[in-house]
């Protein structure tokens, strides 16, 4: 307990203390400055888009991994974890080189929301896949087969049989991905070009405030981001649990 409080609790208290050091007014003006607001809107939009996109792509990936049999399935299953294994900064510089000013494909998405979103999609893909995959594995295909025998189209079977079963897990995974995306730094900072008011995400803004010794403003922005991430996690967990309970 001492280890945890020295590491986690005391630094969190220090952050709270610093954010409100100048009183509520100072906190509020730092947290809602145009710079902070623009960064937060961009962070939220890119993170939400990436999380939702990966909810769909991740479900499709998990479905193929569990229900399909083909050569190379093992490799596909293994490489899904790459974002956990590869350092974010390595992903960041690689995406910058692949899709930047000297792109071998002649695609330059640096400094755009597309670039930021692609980086976040890379980082968050395994969250959705690994949340859905174990549920799909325990779900036998009997019910799906029965529905298909009765003449339901594959899409209809998926919507009425498979989706309700995996929805709680999918929601938890997407929530985790969204929360992780909100704070992402290493993979995003290179491809974003990091222009204030334009392509700077919140974590980048916090870093630039810390670098210029504006710790109080940095803490205010950090606190908003932290509360948002925790809210996303708690809400997605609660809703997922209720959904699961309703199914019995």
């Amino acid at each position: 307990m001492g280890y945890v409080s020295l590491l986690v609790l005391i630094p969190m208290a220090a952050l709270l203390n610093e954010a409100f050091k100048g009183g509520l007014g100072t906190f509020w003006s730092a947290a809602t400055s145009t710079e902070a607001w623009d960064a937060l809107k961009l962070t939220l939009a890119c993170s939400l888009f990436a999380a939702v996109f990966n909810a769909v792509a991740g479900t499709a990936t998990a479905y193929v991994l569990v229900r399909d049999r083909f050569a190379g399935r093992g490799v596909l299953n293994t490489i899904i974890d790459l974002p956990f294994a590869l350092p974010t900064v390595v992903a960041g510089v690689t995406f910058y080189t692949l899709y930047g000013p000297h792109s071998p494909f002649h695609v330059n998405i640096t400094g755009t929301w597309v670039g930021i979103t692609v980086a976040i999609m890379f980082v968050t893909l395994p969250f959705s896949v690994r949340a859905v995959q174990p549920v799909l594995e325990t779900l036998t295909s009997d019910a799906e087969d029965a529905a298909a025998t009765l003449g339901a189209s594959p899409l209809h079977v998926f919507r009425t049989v498979t989706l309700p079963a995996i929805l709680p897990a999918l929601l938890t995974g997407t929530g985790l991905a969204f929360a992780r995306a909100l704070g992402e730094y290493g993979s995003v900072v290179f491809i974003s070009n990091n222009l204030p008011y334009h392509s700077q995400v919140s974590s980048s803004l916090i870093y630039s405030l810390v670098s210029s010794d504006q710790n109080t403003s940095a803490s205010a922005v950090a606190l908003v981001l932290l509360v948002l991430a925790l809210t996303v996690l708690v809400v997605s967990n609660v809703v997922a649990r209720q959904l699961a309970a309703r199914r019995g």
């Binding site: 986690v8 499709a60 893909l125 992780r180 710790n215 940095a218």
Partner: protein, 271 residues
């Protein structure tokens, strides 16, 4: 074979290939783009070698500490439930929701010389911020729950029957721990250790703030890669990235094996 499933399979392979496999392959290509002799001399870059050495020193301290903590805390949370251990179960997962940048900021606020504890440590003649110790602290913070998140669910699932049986037969607590408990959680722990290792080697944002990022002194390998990129020396950055890319392939291998073993263990316990 239905046509729809072939289409779905192809789309998934294309997406995962473009998003994950392509960047990984690209690192290898970029590191060798100037040929072998350039690659060898880039490997002997003093700033990068110093950074590799520092990352290794951080790993050697941070990973074992977090593994001991992770296994210990999991046993405590599962086997000795109390209000305190339930609270710890929640607090321990907090680092997963925190931006690494916020972790760095929090640690700086608490441990800088002008911060809460900095003055106390300074009085004792210890400097933490912008030293090796700050990097270790940040690495431990970001990887704190990775072992326990793997071990706790498995311990809950397994229960205590085997330990109780052994105790009835007269085995001593130490022997029970090493022959039963530790052996049954070994693969879950191995999975957690590998994730911890990958996270400690790969941490960037938190270390960027607390280390001061001084080349040859407090620059880890990830920081060195970022610095090379910022100073338009992207080739040197890709050589560093190649080393981390190779490590991540090894990590993927171990994770894959550990997950496979865990699934089999789950299956066995149902039979």
């Amino acid at each position: 074979m239905r046509r729809s499933s072939v289409v779905l399979r192809s789309v998934v392979i294309l997406y995962v290939g473009a998003l994950l496999a392509l960047p990984l392959g690209f690192i290898f290509q970029q590191a060798f783009v100037k040929g072998w002799s350039q690659f060898w001399s880039a490997l002997r870059d003093p700033a990068m070698d110093q950074a590799i050495w520092l990352t290794a020193k951080v790993v050697v301290l941070a990973v074992p500490l977090n593994v001991l903590f992770g296994v210990g805390v999991s046993l405590w949370i599962v086997r000795h439930p109390s209000k305190l251990s339930r609270a710890l179960d929640v607090v321990i997962d907090v680092p997963l929701a925190l931006s690494p940048i916020i972790v760095g900021l929090m640690l700086e606020l608490a441990y800088a010389q002008t911060g809460w504890f900095g003055s106390t440590f300074a009085y004792l003649g210890l400097k933490i911020m912008f030293t090796y110790w700050a990097i270790v602290l940040a690495s431990i913070f970001v990887s704190l729950p990775l072992v326990s998140r793997q071990v706790i669910p498995l311990l809950r699932e397994l229960g205590e029957h085997q330990e109780q049986t052994a105790a009835t037969l007269g085995a001593k607590p130490g022997r029970i721990f090493f022959t039963i408990t530790l052996r049954s959680i070994a693969w879950a722990a191995a999975y957690g250790v590998t994730l911890t290792l990958a996270r400690v080697i790969g941490e960037y944002g938190a270390v960027l703030i607390v280390s001061g990022n001084i080349a040859l002194l407090t620059q880890t390998l990830t920081l060195n890669i970022g610095a090379n990129f910022d100073s338009f020396n992207s080739y040197q950055g890709f050589v560093g990235s190649l080393l981390l890319g190779l490590i991540s392939v090894l990590v993927l291998g171990v994770i894959g094996i550990a997950r496979h073993r865990l699934e089999r263990k789950r299956y066995d316990s149902f039979v």
